[in-house]
């Protein structure tokens, strides 16, 4: 979810892309074309392939990690970005393939850190660990 005024190089999508590609070693990381206009903001997903299967991740038949979709949100220090359940429902409906079980919420802080959380649609079991 980026501020419409921010340039590509400063957008949170770009920050997430850079983090995944160069810090987490993901491959084929792209900012998705489809976008959703939501309360004055433009929401875009980022997608890529992890370097190894995620702890609770799906894998392809040959055991290699499958493509993941990420929703970047900004954690401004004193102004949390408005992310409602309704907004999440729209993201799953409009930006994800039908049957998508989960996306990865990517919380971009203004100090340069990015944290990642699985967000499953519906009620889901915790991972085995």
């Amino acid at each position: 979810m980026c501020n419409p005024s921010s340039k590509d190089g400063l957008s949170i999508e770009y920050a997430v892309r850079t983090n995944l590609a160069h810090f987490q070693n993901w491959s084929d990381v792209v900012i998705c074309e489809e976008s959703l206009e939501w309360e004055g903001r433009t929401i875009k997903l980022v997608s890529g392939i992890p370097s190894e299967p995620l702890s609770n991740g799906e894998t392809e038949d040959d055991g290699s990690p499958s493509r993941e979709f990420l929703l970047p949100v900004s954690l401004a220090q004193y102004k949390a970005e408005s992310l409602t359940i309704e907004c999440l429902d729209h993201v799953f409906d409009k930006l994800c393939n039908p049957g998508t079980k989960r996306i990865i919420l990517s919380i971009v802080n203004d100090d340069g850190t990015i944290v990642f959380y699985f967000m499953y649609k519906g009620v889901h079991k915790p991972k085995k660990n």
Partner: protein
């Protein structure tokens, strides 16, 4: 046969009556357990209040559990007015003489049965050892005084674990009062949306318990809490359109959840356009849930 939920009227705060749903009957508690309503045993020994594992009746229910049971026709409400301690003190004051006599009578019967049993055992033992011939009557073996003293010293006094004292002191009530009580429970209970979350999860087979221990509204077990660890920490219901997620709260809860092998669940009832607000207590709404856990990196 519906179970009986005793509603204890608490102190009035801001002119509002508070009701605590309690179950006193062991058979009712068993029945509820089979329905996946566990409640919390809250009766305690004042001398060992810290020993939670020994807590006993009454079983205290969550408000949601009481409402769910009533709406599904599985329970009826009874009101106990006022502080139970006072109530019982009142009964004791009024009926002290009768209760005293009754207790004495019961004790006498119990002692007599014990004496009879012990004399018989003693006789059989002497018989086995060949000290007395078979079929000697109890009188001939039992009346020497040292034996009799030993026997008196060995009698047990049983302290009963149940009481019928409260059975007859419920308020008289007319038809329709159950609905009125339900109304009080609901109005006392600030957030109807939380009940909707409870209802959906309960109907999917989860067993729910209060979630304070893990910083949520509920915790959800996939079956009986004695057989399973809980899977989910459920947050207070969110408003579907107006309440945005606090991302720091999300991070805190999802991290904690991952550390204790649980997933953090958030949910909001989906509003329907044609719905009347006044009709909300009976409606079955869809609830949109999301489950959040740490992705394992970052």
């Amino acid at each position: 046969m519906p179970v009986t939920i005793n509603l204890i009227c608490g102190a009035e705060e801001d002119g509002q009556t508070t009701l605590s749903p309690l179950i006193f009957n062991i058979d009712d508690i068993k029945k509820l357990r089979e329905l996946g309503i566990c409640g919390i045993l809250s009766g305690t020994l004042s001398s060992a209040a810290q020993q939670n594992i020994f807590l006993s009746v009454p079983l205290k229910l969550m408000i949601e559990e009481a409402i769910w049971l009533h709406l599904n026709g599985l329970a009826k409400f009874k009101v106990l007015k006022g502080d139970t301690t006072q109530l019982i003190e009142g009964i004791l004051d009024r009926n002290a003489y009768d209760i005293h006599n009754l207790t004495k009578e019961r004790l006498k019967i119990s002692f007599e049965l014990q004496r009879e049993y012990k004399r018989e055992q003693h006789r059989l033992k002497l018989e086995r050892l060949g000290i007395i011939p078979p079929e000697t009557s109890n009188e001939t073996t039992g009346d020497n005084s040292p034996n009799e003293k030993l026997l008196e010293a060995s009698l047990f006094i049983e302290t009963p674990t149940t009481s019928n004292l409260l059975n007859n002191i419920h308020l008289n009530y007319e038809n329709g009062i159950n609905d009125y009580l339900l109304h009080i429970l609901i109005s006392q209970y600030g957030n109807w949306d939380n009940y909707l979350l409870f209802q959906v999860l309960k109907d999917r087979g989860y067993v729910l318990a209060p979630g304070g221990r893990f910083g949520g509204k509920f915790i959800a077990y996939p079956g009986d809490p004695l057989r399973y660890h809980s899977h989910m920490v459920v947050r207070d219901a969110l408003h579907y359109k107006d309440q945005s997620l606090d991302l720091l709260e999300l991070a805190a809860n999802a991290r904690l959840g991952t550390a204790v092998k649980k997933i953090w669940v958030i949910g909001a009832p989906v509003p329907k356009n044609d719905e009347m607000e006044s009709n909300k207590t009976q409606s079955k709404k869809d609830v949109s849930f999301y489950s959040v856990e740490w992705a394992g990196f970052g």
